[in-house]
Symmetry: C2
Amino acid sequence: MRLEAVAERAGVSIATVSRVLNNSTAVNPKTRARVLKAIKELRYHPNLHARTLAGGKSKTVGVIVSNLENPFFFDVYQAVEGDAHARGYEVVVANTDYKPEQLSTCIRLMIERRVGGLAVIVSEMEPALIDELAGGDVPIVFYDVGAPRRNITNIRVNYRQGIEKLVEYLHSLGHQKLGFIGHHSTLGPLHERLKAVKDVIAKYSSDMEVRSSANKDSLEGGRQAARTLLASGYRPTAIVCVNDIMAVGALRELRDRGLRVPEDVSVTGFDNIKISEFCSPALTTLHIPRDRIGHTICESLIGVDHQPPNTDREIILDPELVVRDSTGRVSVTPASSRIAVLETSPRRSQPKL
Amino acid sequence: MRLEAVAERAGVSIATVSRVLNNSTAVNPKTRARVLKAIKELRYHPNLHARTLAGGKSKTVGVIVSNLENPFFFDVYQAVEGDAHARGYEVVVANTDYKPEQLSTCIRLMIERRVGGLAVIVSEMEPALIDELAGGDVPIVFYDVGAPRRNITNIRVNYRQGIEKLVEYLHSLGHQKLGFIGHHSTLGPLHERLKAVKDVIAKYSSDMEVRSSANKDSLEGGRQAARTLLASGYRPTAIVCVNDIMAVGALRELRDRGLRVPEDVSVTGFDNIKISEFCSPALTTLHIPRDRIGHTICESLIGVDHQPPNTDREIILDPELVVRDSTGRVSVTPASSRIAVLETSPRRSQPKL
DNA sequence: TTGAAAGCGCTACCAC
DNA sequence: GTGGTAGCGCTTTCAA
């Protein structure tokens, strides 16, 4: 089914049909009506590929993320989509699952689709890829990776500052032995966050210590990481998690071990995704404004209010500490006495009191 | 950057470049090497739109869902994507947010993209739209809506049977006053589930009763719905939720009101998404196999092992009851005495014991 | 094994 | 206002 069929049926040229399809030049209302009628009757749907090929423009932006299943990434995507739709753009997402070769595939696909702009929200970015992208002519937004450059916007989070607030807060509650739960990610953010924790701890010298454990970025990964951390025999009074979903996973493991949060162990998340309010106990976490990230991405890639897209800049986000119910003072009776007993028991929920 | 540039640089015709790009006909290894080199040097990326336009084929399937934020839909999407990628297909998702007009937009867009197949996993489907789709030549999979037809696969869940198991289970625990929490959805599944509850209850005649409340399909919606339900003064001993995320939301509201689950109120979910294992208490729910749904979709749309796509059939899924910690026997002391006191107190987490 | 050329379905420019 | 038509960048016969 092509334009031609519609043209014939309406008794006009394909040029005219194209005009009514695009509302471009003025078309005689009667003619227009006839065309519209023909379109409806024939159930005609224009071919998007032919359109973009002929038109040359794109009207779609790409978003690549590490793990859509993690609501953090999903929220960013949603925010982008909201703004994009409002401006008549489509957005296509792709998931890398933290795999560098998938990232490379995704990027290639986006370029082949000739997206008008591309947001890369991943942590496994290899420098070579960054260079390659930076060379092209598609406007790009990087989150957490790469450096400012022509045609590139960089959004980054001031992890150091966030972690500082967090660790100082924990220290003020008397915590000295910390645990850190991260996810597998070859470079970047995770290391940055863990490093930040270590650096801040260094300020208190021998006063504090931290041990870490990593696993998949998921609820299950958080649980496993917590299990590993505790299985080593280490007894942290507070566990800092790289993000909220892993924290929720850790919560589960602690519960199964009969450890109460925050009485026996404090737990913190990162991102402040919705679930952090709904889990039990609600998580103390650091807020990162996904909507702001989404808006910035659209501003950079599409532009706002007929302003041209605006790249070539760097936006720094400051995480904000959100204190809820998963953190508390270190208790007088060390948690270790409880753990010693429960450690070997099967991992089941404790009977309700 | 076009094929032509590559051809010139490699000293061959564009036809030859196209051949190496597609591994179609045999190309002289030396020529091939020269072409590949030119491609690399020029950082050439083929134009996907031109390719699909010229080639006529699609290699992408579309998936439309009501709410990607709900892991149920997301899991289905992931499953489809996994299978599709394995067969060299891309998948593009779209979200309707339960809005009929968005659904219509999404469908149109998918058709314009000339997807090779389309899965429609939504609950707000209007009959007119179904007819329109069924008329086309794209293979379609509907979930939960529509009837068998040419070029169409129907996947449906035997809600009645699932709800029967669930309600009978609750009845066996002594529950008589039920609450039902659903989401706003104009027709279909929700009504089907609630209706199923009512029908099953009818079997016990005056023995049981149910009242329902609806809200957005989200954690927050679940909380609000629970709030509304209880604010009416109704005192259910068990709350049946239309899905797991709303159940998690409800859990939060109950906790804030000082109601213990399952001692004071039992709560059930639906879907058995990951979070249902990780919330506290872990949810009793009905399992729906998202992976199976995903596989079926790919089978129908793409085909497996070089078999042709296989539509024109109906697949019925039987939900399986998964009993966890959110349900229990009705306690001797009615929950109402506790509620009466706590009802007017501010909604905050209770102090830890 | 390679090249020439005819589309694929549309947009946009130039005439009328 | 409307029609004719030259591309858009590629795939795919058909010849050579």
